[in-house]
């Protein structure tokens, strides 16, 4: 890379070049501790989803605070984090291609690795890849629990679990069930989320009972994201949750009505941007959708009541009828991204600030270890 990072440790916030992805470390640390404490009190395991931050330094801190390991979605992510010293990784997704399963088997020789399956072909492919290697992989049977994406219906989970069990000699350890409902995380009202996740829990319980009825073990049910983890955690069915966004909190999750009794998480991830063009009624900033993902809607502009309009790949357009609200040419604007995960994936590094966005200092620059790790 022949272009420099946006800042160096020791720089004041004002010196951070734009656009840059900035972590409010004080807020992130409070979020980290709140989730770790809460899961400890509830007696559920915490395995945060590292697909959100893709950062080995953050995974290390999550594990140091009590997480059992991290989830990833891709083998490349697992490999990148393993190379950076993370030793317990769960690919909470299906891996099908033989060449990729061969890579997975090699990775399993040096870290504790788990993977999800939702087909007999997937089980057999994994068994072929592991056979004769003297390694074991934890296997979770994925159940379709409302997300209508991957996973088998609950009534088919036992058949698949039996196939996993029958390949025990090849190194497949039946670890339990993957039961995650992604879309339900973003339902705005508490009542809607509770209704959706009650169905999710019921389907997970149905699958678990089917395994037990078939004489199989079901050591763990895992799932639950930032939007709903408190429901899975207290269901009596789930033994582990997989939230990712709680650490940074994007605008989309902040738009959810909060459930009672749930810990409060603070916004900790921001894009620092700058006004590069100005006219009456409009300020154009140097951050567009190559700086922050727009798939979950526009970012929130901190401290200013402005409309954000997409200006394309490299520009954002801030509009107001009230000229006094608009920033001046050259002014700094802070954005809270609509969606953390794909926003982080656009950046090579996180600029980590201690002491707040107004007067803080850059404490560290953390590489986004698994940025672009998409296979």
């Amino acid at each position: 890379m022949s272009f420099p990072p946006a800042a160096q440790p020791g720089d004041p916030v004002a010196a951070i070049d734009t656009p840059a992805l900035v972590v409010d470390l004080d807020a992130m640390e409070r979020n980290l501790v709140r989730m770790a404490d809460w899961t400890r009190q509830q007696g559920v395991r915490l395995r945060p989803h590292a697909k959100m931050h893709k950062c080995a330094e953050i995974a290390r801190r999550q594990i140091a605070a009590g997480a059992v390991g991290v989830c990833v979605q891709k083998l490349d992510e697992a490999q990148a984090l393993a190379d950076a010293g993370i030793g317990d990784l769960y690919i909470s997704n299906e891996v099908i291609a033989p060449a990729k399963l061969a890579r997975l088997a090699i990775l399993a020789q040096r870290v504790r690795l788990a993977v999800a399956v939702d087909s007999l072909e997937g089980v057999r492919g994994l068994a072929s890849a592991l056979r004769g290697r003297s390694v074991a992989v934890d296997v979770f049977v994925e159940v379709e629990v409302g997300g209508e994406r991957c996973g088998v219906p609950p009534q088919e989970a036992a058949r698949l679990a039996r196939a996993v069990h029958e390949h025990h000699g090849d190194g497949l350890r039946l670890a339990g069930l993957q039961a995650y409902h992604g879309r339900a995380q973003h339902l705005r009202s508490v009542a809607e989320r509770q209704a959706a996740i009650r169905q999710t829990v019921a389907r997970a319980a149905q699958a678990r009972d089917a395994l037990l009825d078939a004489g199989l073990r079901c050591p763990l049910v895992t799932g639950g994201g930032t939007g709903s983890f408190e429901i899975e955690s207290t269901s009596g069915v789930y033994g582990e949750i997989q939230p990712g966004s709680y650490l940074f909190m994007d605008r989309d999750y902040a738009d959810n009505d909060p459930s009672p009794g749930r810990p409060v998480f603070e916004a900790a991830l921001f894009v620092k941007a700058r006004v590069i063009s100005r006219r009456p009624g409009q300020a154009v900033i140097d951050a567009g959708h190559k700086s922050h993902a727009l798939d979950s809607g526009p970012p929130r502009v901190l401290g200013r009541d402005l409309d954000y309009v997409s200006g394309g790949d490299e520009h954002g357009i801030l509009r107001s009828r009230n000229e006094a609200l608009l920033p001046a040419l050259g002014d700094v604007v802070w954005l809270q991204p609509g969606h953390c995960d794909p926003t982080v994936n656009l950046h090579d590094e996180l600029i980590v600030v201690r002491g707040g966005l107004d007067h803080g200092l850059v404490e560290a620059v953390w590489p986004v270890t698994a940025r672009g790790a998409l296979r």
Copy 2:
């Protein structure tokens, strides 16, 4: 980076890991030649926009085929391409921050560099950065020609051009006008695009005449993208066009009704993906919006009449009521992305295939030189 590229030169297409960004080199070369030939015949200069491909190897080939240089949107892109040997770069965007202008001045010592301005502050900042360095930068005054993003109204262009001219001694060379209307590129009907770009041309001409009336020179009017370049090229006002996407052609541009007399460009950029989960009515692929941008709508699925539904960051969902149309578990699916530019920016390399997607071979793996170059 600790994860491997999706393929190596010499691999058959079938061996390319998924998801991967694949260039059909034969199609790309035909597009490259068609645009170069067409602009030569029309007597306009071609300065392709490298924000689309961000790839030094492609920029070299465009220049070898007759382009005068390339456009970029960001100083980081210019720096990355300069380091890779590209010697004529136009940042067709405003640069305001003093620290960035200082970097720009240093870069101008080793390449021919141009930049756009749309404010007196921008002119003065650039002059301050260049002063005493014995370097010159070409400066284009950006005119707002319908895009409602950056640029001054035509009637204000002369005032700004005069300010540029007055800083000639500091190294600012008045190079002409930047006049680009981004949104008009995507109007579907020929009539709509013609109507919008006629306004664009009229505003560019008004600004040019204002410069001439003020006794200033206007050496060049530059602008025009893949959706409309044939209109700017034949307007008698524009001397240079800046198309980017013509080289790869995304689904969005392919959805435009073609103007008569315009060269035909072929799809040349694809995401190779694989089915990792399957159920009746649905196939889930391993490519989501971390693999291909969705800002201009969903990708087209090659050779299959299927609905693409976003499955989030790492999954795409293909649906059909006709089971026979759906690919099987493990099958490969090819996607034509909705929008090239932000799709390329998600990938570290282009897998370059000669001989077609069915039976071709990987000829090269080209790094996306300026991927993530967002400042």
